[in-house]
Symmetry: C2
DNA sequence: GCGCAATGGTCCATATTATGGAACGCTTTT
DNA sequence: AAAAGCGTTCCATAATATGGACCATTGCGC
């Protein structure tokens, strides 16, 4: 740490967000359950996600050295995998700089995914637009995946404030971030305990999120009817979110609005909470129309 | 073969196209170069592509048995890989039917790919729309990937005729199909020979495309200035295409128009050829504006 | 109601496969 | 001129993926 820190000099908030997002991509899948004879596949997709997220705002692509450093794997292994990804068309290597970025198959896959893959995404589109419009802030759709929350949609608002703490593809443990916390809080206590236990090894990266804090946040979320991220993750960056349930009434996603502390006073929060809840209900009914879709939770063969 | 043939009863053309497309997905990567210690990764991505293409027009998803059959791999292996893909979020399993379809990460990847991954796609968008509009037929963008051509964009025309012989994600050997043939014909003779040699083991699946036929098609394409697929692949389904070059003057993509025999008489072909050539030039200049992007050719460490 | 043939899923000994330290050639920085 | 960085290749090693056999259910025909 510190070697590549100077890469992210844009602004203080963006930096923090970027760094931990990348780091998390790397360790998210690994800490899941037993790979059961598919370790190399997991590693390959983790690397693919890493390329995707790191190259997000670097048009030139990412260098092998950097990928190796960030992923923590030896150069040789990363290189071998990148060659495989490249031959599959999911990663392309710049002819001049030999840097890596997503390949055309990534686009094709997205195209083929279309509506069917991410029903919540399409169901929430209208809600996100409306919310961004009326709040003038940035809104997000976050979906649960095992004990993690992944940001799948981002809708910029018309206002001048841009919150860059979260971007499409970012992945954080359940509880970290407004939408993420909204999902976590909607789970039964036992499941929350499981999730927190699963994150035991990772929590060090989120120093402010110890178990007690998370339980406290969960209780507050349940009392308020919406999740509030009051700058715990990135100082000054506030956000609020509400859960979205699937047709089986499982909490699987969340709508959230991100802004800055000054724009989220108690009065405005009360208003926005109603808007969020209304749009969450709208999204839910929208999904119900299409049919049921559930993302399989991480296999918990624990003990 | 024959066991799952009844799955595709939609119409005669669609059926043929679907079947061979799926088959090809399976064998495309494998027959490439040496896996070099990344075999499982290649297999995993092949399976992912297969899920994507097979679930394309089956909203319910694809069953494990069918995937195993089509891919030719044992159930156990396919199942293990699907679990890995599922844990990565790239594949989702229907809770009720336990069928598989693309997961939300496929959408996220497509989103993150955005413009940068598939510059030809974005560069060609306008051209495709114009071509579909003026021809009232369906147009495609095809990109070269090694010795294969992959359809990355499809633009429906306003006309009543729908050609379903090609869809986004379909992958055929260079030379099979109008756009594919346009790319092949633009290569130097030596490289064409290499490509044909690489397909030696696969050609059996394309019975009408023996070496002699392909060389003949190449010569005709060069003479005419455009590639014509006169129903060789799917009887009655005709198409024409022209090559698109990158800034290094390499043939890397093609624009094509698909229709039926009756709508592609000699007179109309001459007109459309000019339109295609004009739009190809437009796309090329469009790409040049953004910057150079080349898809790495398959490593030919041959001999 | 009873086979029969599908299905999805699991197990585990086997050997095929991925692994990553070390070394190379190269360019850039010091 | 040395040092440090880069992308890339090699190869013995051991960890890994493999897939045949097996089980539990479900759906169908009779």
């Amino acid at each position: 740490m510190g070697v590549d820190a100077d890469r992210y000099q844009v602004d203080e908030r963006g930096q923090l967000a970027r760094r931990s997002a990348s780091w998390n991509i790397v360790h998210a899948v690994e800490s899941g359950s037993d790979p059961q004879g598919a370790q190399s596949i997991q590693r390959a997709f983790t690397l693919l996600n890493l390329v995707a997220v790191m190259a997000r705002d670097r048009p030139g692509g990412v260098s092998l050295a950097e990928l190796a450093r960030t992923s923590g794997r030896p150069k040789a292994s990363v290189h071998r995998m990148l060659m495989a990804l490249s031959q599959a068309g999911y990663v392309a290597q710049d002819a001049d700089t030999s840097c890596y970025r997503l390949g055309f198959q990534a686009t094709v896959l997205g195209e083929l995914a279309g509506q069917s893959a991410d029903r919540f995404g399409t169901a929430a589109t209208d809600s996100l637009i409306r919310l961004s419009d009326l709040s003038a802030d940035t809104t997000f759709l976050t979906v649960r995946h095992g004990s993690y929350a992944v940001c799948t949609r981002r809708q910029e608002g018309p206002g001048p404030i841009r919150n860059n703490a979260l971007a499409v593809g970012d992945r954080h443990p359940l509880g970290v971030g407004a939408g993420s916390l909204a999902i976590l809080s909607a789970l039964p206590d036992q499941e929350i305990a499981d999730v927190l236990a699963a994150h035991a090894g990772i929590r060090q990266r989120y120093p402010r999120y110890d178990d007690d804090t998370l339980w406290r946040l969960v209780r507050r979320t349940r009392a308020d009817g919406y999740a509030l991220n009051d700058g715990l993750f990135v100082p000054g960056s506030w956000a609020m979110g509400v859960v979205v349930r699937d047709t089986a009434d499982q909490p699987v996603a969340a709508l959230s609005i991100a802004s800055i502390e000054q724009r989220l006073g108690e009065q405005r929060r009360a208003e926005l909470a109603l808007d969020l809840q209304r749009e969450a209900a709208f999204t839910e009914s929208n999904v119900a129309k299409v049919g049921m879709a559930r993302v399989p939770a991480e296999r918990s063969k624990d003990d």
